[in-house]
């Protein structure tokens, strides 16, 4: 790709924020913990049959999901023929992991879009649901960590990936999610959510499964390595300092205009009022004869 034939080989001594080390440590710990959680029960489960997990998932599904999505995940239509809850037969386990893991499902009330909120199901329950929905038909499985994790890359590999990711991000993602990943408006009350500070796994799953009304970016559309590049770029955005000060929500010229009026003009008019205001007066007379 011509955008990326880099001639520059010099390494940056880019200094990360003071918290970056701590963050890295915390991330590492969390990942280790996550890995353990993901792998350890899996080993134990080899004895248990997968079917048991699916059965468990089905029970949870009937209680929490079937009202909208149908008893077998076939979807529910309203009387007027529109979708009440979409069919889940071919969405795959990755979709369940994303929806349940970010708290979007179960929905608190029907609406245009499911907002991100507190997670309801525990990790085990989520695993069971994933197994059940995954068993209903085709659809992507929960991605392996190596697909989205950028931890084992060398610094130069990482940087190359970030540059590549920046271009893929700008070509495919900014239109809806905005140049900083702050989100944007979609038709009829829909919105593209903020995607900064989101767990890389969920970013990957979102691209893979196209939650809500988002398009999918299947592996045939954007190859896994390029999805990782986007994730690397998003991580870089999170890690880089705000070079120019407060970002004002990262919404572009609207928030800048509001700041110019409220802070700039507001403060300067305030100063003008002070400059022209009458100073305090004394009731005393000046002793000497008036000039």
């Amino acid at each position: 790709m011509r955008l990326l034939n880099r001639s520059a080989g010099r390494l940056s001594r880019h200094r990360r924020g003071p918290l970056a080390g701590l963050m890295l440590l915390v991330c590492g710990l969390l990942l280790t913990g996550g890995l353990y959680a993901a792998l350890a029960p899996a080993q134990a489960d080899t004895d248990q049959s997968q079917e048991e997990l699916i059965k468990e998932g089905r029970e949870l599904f009937l209680v929490g999901c079937a009202f909208c999505h149908g008893q077998n995940g076939e979807g529910v239509l309203t009387q007027s023929g529109t979708q009440y809850g979409p069919a889940l037969t071919d969405v795959g386990a990755a979709a369940v992991d994303f929806q349940v893991g970010t708290g979007r499902m179960p929905m608190a009330q029907p609406g245009v879009q499911a907002p991100r909120k507190e997670v309801v199901y525990s990790e085990e329950e989520s695993d069971a649901l994933e197994a059940f929905v995954g068993s209903l038909g085709t659809g992507p499985a929960v991605p392996d960590e190596e697909l989205y994790s950028t931890d084992d890359l060398s610094e130069s590999e990482y940087k190359e990936l970030v540059t590549r990711g920046s271009q893929i991000f700008l070509a495919n993602c900014t239109a809806c999610h905005n140049f900083e990943g702050s989100g944007g408006a979609m038709p009829r009350g829909g919105y593209a959510p903020k995607i900064r500070g989101v767990d890389p796994k969920y970013v990957y799953e979102a691209m893979l499964t196209g939650p809500q009304s988002m398009d999918t970016f299947s592996d045939g559309n954007i190859p896994p390595e390029d999805k990782k590049a986007v994730i690397a770029y998003l991580e870089t955005l999170d890690d880089s300092p705000s070079y120019g000060g407060f970002t004002l929500g990262g919404l572009g010229p609207v928030s800048e205009g509001i700041t110019a009026w409220l802070v700039g003009i507001g403060a300067l008019v305030g100063f003008a009022v002070w400059i022209a205001a009458h100073t305090t007066r004394s009731s005393e007379k000046k002793d000497e004869a008036e000039a």
Partner: protein, 572 residues
């Protein structure tokens, strides 16, 4: 017209002009300069020139000083900025874009931002100053309009001010486009669409401006020349003319004791006014520096270089272009295909018709008003907005239209921040831009008139003292006290509105044809313009009211003295 030659001889004499003994150096220089420039005459008049003091008179100063900041920061930026669209591979410090192809303009903008110490600060200050420059011009314009300061002899200065607003906007747009990042390129792309929508010559305009097909490689050098040479030159010239006329006319002032149409009361240029204006320059400069350091502005590195296939959510122009952009968003899909040609009303109305129309309406306002009212006198005393209800209402209606269009320009941000649907917002605003200004006009007019009525009440019956008195019968009344003389005078220091011409009179006057129709129209507009205004009381009304009030007060007081609440205020 005769030349005074009496002094030529002495200055050309053989004697040195400098006094020989013990002259101070400053004096020497002053004399030297005066003999060549004649400074004394000019300074004699102006060094103690009087400027009235009021906060609202300093709004234009904000614009002036932010313009100075723009010149200073702009010069700094030119030292590094390379206005070229030649493609280069970025090799600077910002990692995520290293290796990406971009124009030299974008690469040098990144260099200013990342590799020049204080460069990002200067870039942000320049941009904040531009936003404040135009905002300050606008609030200054509103102040001038609402107080009637545009009236004779200042109409031409009003026109110059409107042109400054236009030039400032163009200057802002060309500057916004220079970095060649994704956001500014999207703006230029839209500008290309605007040009192409122009009837007959649209495509030719676009091809000539871009030096070929969009985006070409000449638009940034061309905008740069306009941005740093042509428009700043025009701005400087017009600002100079604006200030010269201000000095010639002398500043308007608020009415009050001792302040008349014939004089101007205030502080002398030296020292107080110079100190306040000079101090304000540092304050404006300092505020802009603070904003430049604290608030991120246009982070071009996140937008990336311009690419006609890319776009970002929240693609908006800077605020001053927001209202035509809003109209572009809410205009229905009107496009006519007729006789093989295309008329894009959906572009022409919002961007090629409305902004020039708005400017023309603004420029015409003073002339329109003086034609309707028939007022051809000079005015140096300001009017309170309430004392010209129709005028105030006209501007509030225009502001409402502007504000709603402006909101439309941010409809996507409103949608996500307030959890609304952009479609609903758009439908609402399509109606609101028509209905809103009408409602605003009516409300403002009635509000002004009720404020006028309130003023008249205060004059005639005194102000509400807040002291409640209970009569022996158990009734309550509030004690009204007469206004202090200065306040009362200030309230009456305004014009009587003229009696509108009677339509019947005009019809009987023997005028015919077009002249008659014009006069009749004018008389009707005049009647509407002044309708329901409350006039200040006449001498007789005031006397009678004062008499009455004194009587009432006296009665109240005797009741207090006799009544149950003797512990009430004992004075008076």
């Amino acid at each position: 017209m005769s030349v005074d030659v009496s002094k030529v001889a002495t200055t050309n004499g053989s004697e040195p002009a400098t006094p020989t003994k013990g002259a101070q150096r400053a004096g020497t220089i002053a004399t030297w300069a005066d003999e060549r420039l004649g400074l004394g005459t000019a300074m004699k008049k102006n060094i103690r020139k009087v400027f009235p003091d009021h906060w609202s008179f300093m709004l234009g100063e904000i614009a002036l000083w932010s313009f100075v900041v723009l010149l200073l920061t702009g010069v700094f930026l030119t030292l590094w900025f390379d206005p070229s669209m030649t493609e280069v591979q970025y090799d600077g410090s910002y990692d995520p874009l290293r290796g990406v192809h971009m124009s030299s303009a974008m690469a040098s903008t990144l260099e200013i931002s990342f590799d020049v110490r204080g460069g990002l600060l200067m870039r942000q200050m320049h941009h904040w100053a531009a936003m404040i420059f135009i905002a300050a011009m606008m609030i200054h314009l509103l102040r001038v309009y609402f107080t009637g300061a545009f009236r004779k002899p200042r109409e031409l200065n009003w026109v110059i001010g409107c042109l400054l607003l236009l030039l400032g906007t163009i200057e802002g747009f060309t500057g916004y486009s220079l970095p060649d990042d994704l956001l500014s390129g999207t703006g230029v792309r839209a500008a290309d669409g605007f040009m192409k929508a122009s009837p007959v010559i649209g495509t030719y305009m676009s091809f000539f401006l871009f030096g070929g097909e969009f985006p070409g490689d000449t638009i940034i050098p061309r905008f740069y020349a306009m941005h740093i040479l042509l428009i700043p030159g025009l701005l400087l010239a017009l600002i100079a003319a604006h200030m010269l006329l201000l000095v010639y006319h002398k500043h308007t002032q608020w009415p009050g004791p001792g302040r008349t149409e014939q004089n101007v009361v205030g502080y002398p240029m030296l020292p107080v006014y110079a100190a306040k204006a000079g101090g304000f320059f540092f304050i404006v400069f300092g505020m802009i520096a603070l904003m430049g350091g604290l608030f991120s502005m246009n982070p071009v590195w996140k937008y990336g270089p311009y690419d006609p296939s890319k776009v970002t959510a929240g693609s908006q122009p800077d605020w001053y272009m927001g209202w035509p952009d809003g109209l572009l968003r809410i205009i229905p899909a009107w496009e006519t295909h007729i006789w093989g040609v295309t008329l894009s009303w959906n572009v022409m109305i919002p961007i090629l018709v409305m902004p020039p129309l708005m400017l023309m309406v603004l420029i015409a306002l003073p002339f329109l008003e003086s034609w309707i009212t028939g007022d051809k006198r000079e005015h140096h005393l300001l009017q309170r907005p309430r004392n010209a209800p129709t005028r105030t209402a006209i501007m509030v209606a225009l502001m409402t239209f502007y504000g709603l269009s402006w909101a439309a320009g941010g409809n996507d941000i409103i949608a996500i921040k307030m959890h609304l649907s952009i479609n609903q917002i758009t439908y609402f605003l399509r109606a609101a831009v028509f209905i809103g200004p009408v409602i605003a006009f009516i409300i403002t007019r009635r509000w002004c008139i009720s404020l006028q009525r309130h003023d008249a009440e205060k004059l005639l019956h005194g102000y509400e003292s807040g002291v409640l008195v209970r009569s022996p019968e158990g009734g309550y009344a509030e004690k009204h006290l007469p206004l202090p003389l200065e306040k009362a005078y200030t309230l009456t220091a305004r014009d009587h509105d003229p009696e509108p011409e009677k339509v019947e009179q005009i019809e009987a006057s023997g005028l015919e044809g077009r002249k008659l129709r014009v006069r009749r129209l004018r008389a009707r507009l005049q009647a509407l313009f002044f309708a329901d205004n409350v006039q200040k009381p006449t001498v007789e009304e005031l006397h009678e009211a004062q008499h009455h009030a004194e009587h009432e007060l006296h009665e109240l007081e005797s009741q207090i003295a006799a009544g149950p609440n003797r512990h009430g205020p004992a004075d008076h």
